[in-house]
């Protein structure tokens, strides 16, 4: 955004005649360079008039008066002034400008100097987001912004990781078991001034049908100029209700060079699967199974009989059972991928343009998954006079992805297929494990096409008063085609086609007025800025689906014939059909006195069609103040070491409408025919609640910023208090009522957190060796402040894995509510005995004699002392949310070599290792019989690495996995126990990137101006105590299901050519 400065600068002088005095002139030549070589397109000013620019090598030649003082300015670098008196050849060295305060920030659609902004925001330059090829640029923000918690919990191509800004905003859980997820609270994305709908459909990508490609994944990282993360309500309130969870602004590149610049960037990268699960194969598995049955069953002869009846173990000479299949090898692969990006930009203030063509192709490390993107992005700015500006963009993108048999985030087909017994034959049409074929032979082809155009016009009526009008149209179609061949689908191929159309129209008209009162010395003393805007938004979405379950054969996939009945041919419009309209009015007033004291207040009123007519306007006010010490006169004597310091305080409220129109007015459905006339009935599922309130997010923010020693050390410390009131939750009604549920707003949540970031430049900026270290960290504590019906506590019971969640007032919001395991019973005599009944402690209500605990069983705490383990013994143990997270970035430069190292860390998170539990549990059915039927046997993992109980008297950590007779009853490897709750703290070395700029003299011979070659290794290593694959590849409720798409390790080769 620094070029805006130049815009402002140039604006002043555009149209001024260059009537220089006739002086004796001389020609001055020279070069302008930074540490890595000549800089092209550096503007050269004399007497505040542009008189030339450097060429592609950074050299220039200008004709100026004898004693002229030249100014060299270039975006991102400090302006250099140099006198030509007595010289004809100049060597100009430019250093990068990194004054944080001079940066321009955009808040509430209006750009302002960071020095005058009261909101909390962090800006990341696009240059720092290029090291690793990623589909979604948000992945590159990981560890770079204090308070922005990004967990790359899926490696699925095209999907982005989870994003949470400043802790938790919603405590509602949807789904159960491994599919349980927090309801989405994704920040609002604003791309070049246009809000982008990256709503819950894209948070996980699988919650609704369709390709599930986020619009953010359609923006190539090479085209991003900068990203800015707005954190507090003062910064976001002008974005209205959709900005309640924070706002991320993305600014794409624009042309800014008189000489057209052509940049070509290519990345070749190898994605390698991470460490996979170890399995025992072939004879090892058979021997282990035999030993298990012989040792664990009740008697020798019964064991023999069971073995003989279990053909996959006994029939070792049968070719079908005499294998050592490595199932995971059928799913996982290393892939070679590429990305190309070509951009052409040029022009000046009056007219500039940019064209960017990008191609990105990534094959997933799991078979049949991948993401492929092609895009053409263009923008143009036309500014015939200082009063009028026209800016347009046209962006077209085609995204394609394959999800295999999974849903993008979870790939359960792979997880179950990959866990099959190695004794079974490798996948073929005649083998039993169909999930493998399902994952590999399913044709899954998804396409997302997006066309996005924006026109922005600005007109300045009188100096200080301007009107900006922005109009955007976005058209997005999603197509999913899924074909299941007949061999894996009960002898009839099945075809599924999804087709969605979404269009949105967005308009904003902004009136801005600026006024200053000068003091006695002619300096601007009292500065006023006020603006107001209206915002209109209209969205339509419709999705249609056709499913034909009886396709003729595997080769002819249409036309749809053989439609016998509605069961074989399904289709229609999906019920997520949506039309949305919203209107907003907003205003902002800011005042500063000599840039020392800043006051900023804003107000926004929103109204949308998702609320009923009685909901009225939703109002979001905010106010903030700022004190800049560097502009005080008393700090001038500290100049040697003091650069800037300021204190900011802000308050803001953002309201967000909740629920939908059905929650307010109820849902009416057609009922039976009565008296020959159709009837309309009310759906009794949800009781209408006409008193539904919007969720209220209140934030208080306090910040302290400072820069010392000529900005070689600068940092920020922030503290916030974020309260979320009136959170929506569905609660059950008493069974005496006709309705089942009601949705109410009764939950309140508070987040209190501290964020700090510190950057240090170890050496003077003029030295050839540069070393910059940035460290940031954020602590967040969440508390529940109110619960439905005024209760102090309630439990969300997970029906499938039993990994329940406890909500208790005053405590952290999401507490794991599980059994407490304190080791393993070494001897039978250690099991507690009920003094009244003489019976041992037992599991559950089942009083089979197998349910009594004995040696080798887990020592679960009997919380209520009734000698029975049941749900009354659950304890509050562990917090699934991240308490402390942050990152470290190191930047090293020596002449033409650059190196960037990025790491991020999480401290304090409890992860439930369901994956490990299921590995132990794979021993609980050696006979492969379920409900009386033979099932596919599962594979076994080596347990040598684990301290399991094998003999009486042994003090072990893990219970006896082999006792399959009792494990169905005692369930020693249940996932909801503290045995599998592990510390998920980690430090990840995200990437190491190395770049080298080739000698310009050499590259110029080939007509190339700047050539940078480099390499990056990402996901390099992880330091953790966690025993599973990765504590990052877990759901946002901290559960490692083992079915989550693992994060690949990538090695990238990078080439940048600038012509």
């Amino acid at each position: 955004m620094r070029y805006l400065y130049i815009i402002a600068f140039l604006c002043l002088f555009l149209g001024i005649n260059q009537d220089l005095k006739a002086q004796q002139k001389k020609t001055v030549t020279g070069t302008v360079s930074d540490n890595s070589g000549g800089i092209p397109n550096v503007n050269i000013f004399y007497n505040k008039t542009a008189i030339g620019a450097t060429n592609a090598n950074g050299s220039f030649s200008v004709s100026v008066p004898e004693d002229a003082v030249l100014e060299f300015s270039y975006i991102g670098f400090k302006t250099v002034k140099m006198s030509v008196a007595g010289k004809t050849k100049l060597t100009v060295k430019m250093v990068e400008d990194d004054n944080q305060l001079k940066a321009v920030t955009i808040q509430g659609y209006v750009s302002k100097s960071k020095e005058l902004s009261v909101g909390s925001s962090v800006k990341i330059s696009g240059k720092d987001l290029q090291a690793v090829p990623v589909a979604s640029i948000t992945d590159m923000l990981q560890g770079k912004v204090a308070g922005l918690n990004i967990q790359q919990n899926t490696g699925s191509p095209g999907m982005r990781g989870s994003i949470a800004l400043r802790g938790l905003s919603n405590i509602n859980v949807s789904g159960s078991g491994d599919g349980a997820f927090l309801q989405s609270t994704s920040p609002l994305f604003v791309v070049d001034g246009v809000p982008i709908d990256d709503n819950s459909n894209f948070q996980y990508g699988f919650q609704s049908a369709g390709p599930g490609i986020s619009p953010i994944s359609l923006i190539p990282q090479q085209d991003v100029e900068s990203m800015e993360i707005l954190k507090d309500a003062s910064a976001t309130s002008l974005y209205g209700s959709r900005g309640a969870y924070g706002v991320i602004l993305i600014t794409t590149k624009r042309g800014n060079s008189k000489i057209p610049v052509i940049r070509y960037n290519t990345q070749f990268f190898v994605s390698a699967p991470p460490r996979l699960r170890q399995v025992i194969g072939g004879r090892g598995e058979r021997d282990l199974r035999i030993a298990q049955i012989m040792q664990s069953d009740t008697s020798y002869y019964r064991s023999l009989a069971l073995l003989n009846a279990t053909e996959y173990i006994a029939d070792s000479l049968n070719a079908y059972y005499n294998n050592a299949t490595d199932w995971q090898s059928y799913f996982f692969r290393s892939t070679f991928n590429q990305s190309h990006n070509l951009s052409i930009d040029g022009g000046d203030q009056a007219f500039n343009y940019k064209v960017n063509f990008g191609y990105f192709d990534q094959n997933g490390i799991q078979e049949n998954t991948g993401f492929n993107r092609s895009n053409l992005r263009m923008n143009m700015q036309y500014m015939p006079s200082a009063k009028f500006k026209l800016y347009t963009t046209i962006n077209g993108t085609l995204g394609k992805n394959q999800k295999g048999s999974g849903n993008g985030l979870l790939n359960t087909g792979v997880a179950t297929g990959g866990a099959s017994s190695s004794l079974l034959p490798s996948p073929s049409l005649f083998s039993a494990v169909n999930s493998v074929l399902g994952a590999i032979t399913t044709d899954n082809d998804n396409k997302t096409t997006e066309l996005n155009t924006t026109t922005e016009m600005k007109y300045e009526f009188v100096p200080g008063l301007s009107l900006t009008s922005n109009f955007n149209y976005t058209f997005n179609t999603g197509v999913e085609e899924n074909f299941l061949p007949s061999t894996i689908n009960g002898n009839a191929a099945s075809l599924y086609t999804f087709n969605s159309v979404k269009n949105s129209i967005y308009n904003r008209n902004l009136l801005n007025y600026f006024y200053s009162i000068k003091d006695g010395s002619g300096e601007d003393a009292h500065n006023f800025n006020a603006y107001a805007f209206t915002e209109l938004d209209s969205k339509n979405f419709k999705a249609d689906v056709i499913q034909n379950n009886k396709v003729v054969n595997d080769y002819l996939r249409g036309p749809i014939v053989g439609v016998d009945d509605y069961l074989t041919s399904l289709g229609g419009t999906l019920d997520n059909f949506d039309q949305f309209r919203s209107v907003a009015f907003a205003g902002n007033f800011s005042y500063n006195y000599k840039r020392r004291y800043v006051l900023d207040a804003s107000y926004r009123a929103d109204r949308s069609s998702s609320n009923g007519p009685e909901a009225g306007y939703i109002k979001s006010p905010s106010i903030g103040i700022r004190w800049n010490l560097q502009n005080e006169t008393f700090t001038e004597k500290w100049r040697e070491w003091f650069e800037y310091a300021s204190i900011k305080l802000s308050y803001g409220t953002v309201l967000q409408p909740q629920g939908n129109i059905y929650d307010v007015y109820g849902r009416y459905v057609n009922g039976a025919v009565y008296n020959g006339a159709p009837t309309v009935l009310m759906n009794l599922g949800t009781l209408p609640n006409s008193n539904l309130q919007p969720t209220k997010n209140t934030t208080y923010n306090a910040a302290f910023e400072f820069g010392l020693l000529k900005n070689r050390l600068f940092g920020t410390f922030e503290a916030y208090y974020k309260q979320v009131d009136n959170q929506l939750r569905e609660k059950p009604l008493a069974n005496v009522s006709s309705f089942t549920n009601i949705k109410t707003n009764e939950i309140s949540l508070v987040n209190i957190g501290y964020e700090a970031s510190l950057t240090a430049r170890v050496f003077e900026p003029s030295k050839p060796f540069q070393w910059t270290i940035s460290v940031n960290g954020a602590i967040n504590n969440d508390y529940i402040a109110h619960l439905p019906d005024g209760v102090r506590e309630f439990i969300y019971v997970d029906p499938s894995t039993g990994q329940s969640i406890m909500y208790r007032l005053g405590q952290n919001a999401l507490t794991n509510y599980i059994y407490n395991t304190k080791g393993v019973y070494a001897n039978d005599s250690e099991v507690p005995v009920d003094p009244l009944t003489g019976l041992r402690y037992r599991s559950g209500a089942n009083n089979s004699f197998l349910s009594y605990y004995k040696a080798g069983d887990p020592r679960f705490t009997d919380l209520n002392g009734d000698y029975v383990l049941d749900e009354r013994d659950l304890v509050a143990a562990g917090n699934s949310q991240v308490r402390f997270h942050g990152g470290v970035t190191m930047d090293l430069r020596y002449k033409r070599i650059t190196m960037q190292i990025q790491g991020n860390y999480v401290i304090g998170r409890d992860v439930l290792n369901n994956s490990l539990a299921s590995q132990f549990a794979s021993f609980n059915n050696p006979l492969a019989i379920q409900n009386g039927f033979r099932t596919n046997p599962s594979g076994v993992v080596p347990l040598g690495a684990y301290d399991i109980w094998t003999r009486t008297g042994q003090l072990a950590r893990y219970p006896n996995p082999y006792d399959y007779l009792r494990s169905g009853i005692t369930n020693p490897y249940r996932t909801n126990q503290t045995l599998f709750q592990e510390d998920g703290s980690y430090f990840k070395l995200g990437y190491v990137s190395l770049g080298y700029t080739l000698n310009q003299k050499f590259t110029n011979r080939f007509g190339m101006n700047r050539v940078v070659v480099g390499g990056t290794a990402s996901n390099v290593f992880l330091i953790t105590n966690y025993s599973g694959t990765s504590p990052e590849s877990v759901s946002d409720l901290g559960r490692d299901s083992g079915a989550i798409y693992p994060n690949p390790r990538t090695y990238t080769f990078n080439l940048n050519i600038e012509f």
Partner: protein
């Protein structure tokens, strides 16, 4: 020096911000355990049978209270309102220290697993709210039905507060020393002679018919000969109470008939040294029925029937004895003796 000014300034800034926000914590409720209104006892009237250990479970619904909760019986009183020292005083009762599993080899080994402790006869489990009545309580000093019994209150507490649940009723039944009992529970009297065993394929000696499973043909009588002993005797008698030699039940597994020791078998009876109660715990063993609630003693014999068929007959007793003593179980063939001889 200037740096010191700045450093102190920085510290001040950081501190003031922290204090500012920490003061906001006033809005956050304290962490306290919940004691909710929807926590309820689901059973308010308890009617244990005296003379045996009784455990009442699943009598408390936790609702949205936090666990663990603390339970306490308060204000135990007779129905008439006067104090009930018989239930508030401590008595020596027999408690289990190790689990009984049926593998014990002697009475001493069983007794080593039990010991005497002082308890109130009617207790509530501290964290689960289950009620326990110890076998020591008997109708000599505890008021049994048809008396109206006792009334008491329960205090439930945790760090979130305390609640009182009032006017629980305790109305014990008189002892029934053995089961299946013919005693009518709330009266304590019997109208029948004894129970009927389950048997099959037993033919009468006189008529050759299969004996019928009714009060007319076969009756089991439980007879306690003394309170001090530790034995159990099985006797078979004919219509005139003449003993039948137990050895006639020739395929009976005498060692697993009952969990007893030192078997003495003569022509009239078979006697074991046993530990009471029988069964000792509701744990399934070879001496009990499938769920372990009752002892199981099976007498079997085989004979050659008419037409050279093997007739395997058995007689099975499912029973429990709660009081210690020298007990005698008499199986009385009221109409005719079973036929043991071959045809």
């Amino acid at each position: 020096m200037n740096k010191n000014i700045f450093l102190s300034f920085l510290t001040l800034g950081v501190l003031s911000i922290s204090i500012l926000l920490t003061s906001c914590k006033d809005n956050i409720p304290d962490v306290r355990l919940s004691l909710s209104d929807d926590s309820q006892f689901t059973v308010k009237s308890y009617q244990p049978v005296l003379g045996r250990n009784t455990l009442f479970t699943d009598n408390f619904s936790i609702g949205s209270s936090s666990i663990p909760l603390n339970f306490k019986i308060v204000n135990m009183r007779r129905f008439t309102g006067e104090a009930a020292p018989e239930l508030t005083d401590y008595f020596p009762v027999q408690v289990w220290k190790s689990a009984y599993d049926g593998s014990e080899k002697s009475i001493a080994e069983i007794e080593a697993k039990r010991k005497i402790e002082n308890h109130q006869l009617f207790e509530i489990r501290q964290h689960s709210g289950q009620f326990m009545m110890w076998a020591k309580a008997n109708s000599n000093f505890v008021r049994a039905q048809p008396d109206s019994g006792y009334v008491f209150d329960v205090e439930v507490s945790n760090s979130g507060g305390r609640k009182y649940y009032k006017d629980f009723k305790l109305r014990p039944f008189k002892e029934r020393a053995f089961e299946p009992s013919t005693i009518i529970a709330n009266v304590g009297q019997s109208t029948l002679l004894g129970g009927i065993p389950f048997f099959s394929n037993i033919r009468g000696e006189r008529t050759g018919r299969y004996l019928s499973q009714s009060q007319e043909d076969v009756v089991v009588l439980f007879n306690k000969k003394s309170d001090v002993g530790n034995s159990l005797t099985f006797k078979f008698v004919d219509t005139l109470f003449n003993p039948i030699d137990p050895s006639k039940f020739n395929t009976t597994q005498w060692s697993s008939l009952v969990h007893g020791f030192d078997m003495v078998k003569d022509a009239e009876k078979v006697t074991y040294k046993v530990a009471y109660p029988i069964p000792l715990a509701a744990y399934p063993t070879q001496y009990t029925v499938g769920n372990g609630e009752r002892a199981l003693s099976t007498f079997k014999y085989e004979r050659q029937g008419f037409g050279n068929v093997k007739e395997a007959a058995f007689l099975r007793l499912e029973y429990a004895i709660f009081e210690k003593g020298d007990w005698e179980i008499i199986i009385w063939f009221k109409t005719e003796r079973p036929k043991f001889t071959n045809d």
